[in-house]
Symmetry: C2
Subunit: 385 residues, 2 copies
Amino acid sequence: MSAFRFELQGTAGAARAGTFHTPHGPVETPAFMPVGTLGTVKGITAAELRDLGASMILANTYHLYLRPGHELVRELGGLHEFMRWPGPILTDSGGFQVFSLSGIREIRDDGVEFQSHIDGSRHLFTPESVMEIQRALGADVVMAFDECPPGGASRAQAEEANERTLRWLERCRARFEALELETPAEGVERPRQSLFPIVQGNVFEDLRQAHARQIRTMGDWDGYGIGGLSVGEAKPDTYRALEVLDGELPRDRPRYLMGVGYPEDLLEAVSRGCDLFDCVAPTRNGRRGSAWTLDQGQVNFKAARYARDRLPLDPGCDCLACTTVDRAYIRHLIVADERLAERLVSIHNLRFLTRLAGTARARVLDGSFPEWARDWLERYRKAGV
Amino acid sequence: MSAFRFELQGTAGAARAGTFHTPHGPVETPAFMPVGTLGTVKGITAAELRDLGASMILANTYHLYLRPGHELVRELGGLHEFMRWPGPILTDSGGFQVFSLSGIREIRDDGVEFQSHIDGSRHLFTPESVMEIQRALGADVVMAFDECPPGGASRAQAEEANERTLRWLERCRARFEALELETPAEGVERPRQSLFPIVQGNVFEDLRQAHARQIRTMGDWDGYGIGGLSVGEAKPDTYRALEVLDGELPRDRPRYLMGVGYPEDLLEAVSRGCDLFDCVAPTRNGRRGSAWTLDQGQVNFKAARYARDRLPLDPGCDCLACTTVDRAYIRHLIVADERLAERLVSIHNLRFLTRLAGTARARVLDGSFPEWARDWLERYRKAGV
């Protein structure tokens, strides 16, 4: 039996509850994966991630390739050992970063040439090199190298990106399979990895469908990434893309919606059949003092009206921040630019998403998901006004 | 019986082991107090402070007066409640900050006029106002408002500062005692506080002696601050000042050496009869990636030679950093400017000092202090070369 296996345990409409088994343990879905860009979720320890309910985390191939370098990470025992995270890890392919972060870049059929955002040095990512880098990093799930066209791309651009992504997927798989057959160096453990393809197609429903079908024709993958959404398109477009994909992707494989999300986006996507999520918003907002709360929506606690507020950030939350200090204290920390502020708010935001995903799962399993999700979204959106 | 009481439990030469009882619990001495400038030890939670062995912490009157304001802290239940630190707290008088941090300042007999480092606004600290502010903050131990002349001050300057400090101490005590008699506002708990005087005298041994005697003539204090050292003077001068004070200060009262220290300075001062210490170095160095280690002295782990080093920061240390990650990972975090680096190194440095103070205590109690301290200092200094 493969080390990777998805058990579907319940459904409610398109929403699903499952367990994704990996060599580093199970992931109960829906699940939010905190983003550990450089092998660290900003300011948070591995033990804290466990405590706030994270079971799988994400790290960025692009960033780790540049610093400290994937060969060094391999030498140090791989990413799990390097950052002392014993649970499952997913690495992205670096595609999104080289398309969006780097300076001058050139997309060619062999790969993408780009400049480091750190020192401007030139590098080439190819489907093959990205597989090699992710092999060295040693994550459980590795993502195919894809072309992610920008939000607002034309149909022609989207078609071209789909085709290139397919060609690259074939090359990714060939290199991935060859690497699997190689004997690791003395003393290096052979990583057990799974390659997920990425479905592109922008907001064009028929292109999304066609791409999903073409990818399935190529093989029976352990799971599927959904890329190129949440890049500036209108929300109804995102939802429709997910809705058409729900019918195209196999029910017994996990679906990872890349780069999502904000709480309401995560729940809307769960309702449309997505299982795995990642997003930097919890920690990026945390660094700015902005916290998610059920009854007030997204709140920046720097505002003067919180100076005497003795409530926790989000009453009813069980995170480290909400069970120890009050808004008045956090507001003081934010105003004084104290680093404890961003740590506490980041932990709260991460917990907000892991709780949301966990509750969605429980509601799918007990059959009350549709009403609960509707009420939750209504309450959260009303609060945000 | 007073809520404040010092039990002397053992001595070894001038070194002492004791227990300082406060309304918020006992402090086993020698003890290092982490500095929570703005009601937070930079980046570290109260639970982590407990875990790393801190029993008493320090907060800064000057900083809390400016942000969030002492009246607000009182309204929110006082500093213990505000920052959720259940143990003893000491607040300094703000004297050191207004003499060293602020811009234009004017020292007058009634007090010190100074400019806020935040917005340049003008403020006046008097012995009376400083007692009122510290009353509002509600620390267990409050420090008298003193004049701290700069390192390298002349004998005449030191004499003048001693005299002013004495006059101000009288005014501090009068205001402190009057505040103790006031009935607190409805719902506000009456803080139980102790006022410590501060012995000045710069590096002039006879002035140190005379000042200590004059202060003792004024009353039987619960403890004594030793100020104006570690401000740039030569180490032999510091040591001599402590040695003459050992004979002048009562044995059955704790002695707090303000602003010390670095590990070797702390141990040298313990050897000369000091009990309590504070210093921002553990967290300030931590923010720069600089850690204390027994066998290598102070090390900046940013250096390339640590890129593959699988040892903990300090082998043998039991702190969160040393028991979870290695130097290679911390070096990566420092190079990548990741906030987890400063948190881990700060925790290690704080633990380094609490362990050092704790070991010194155990060695005083078991009679092996002199040899142990000599060996420790030799080993640490040799490592630092």
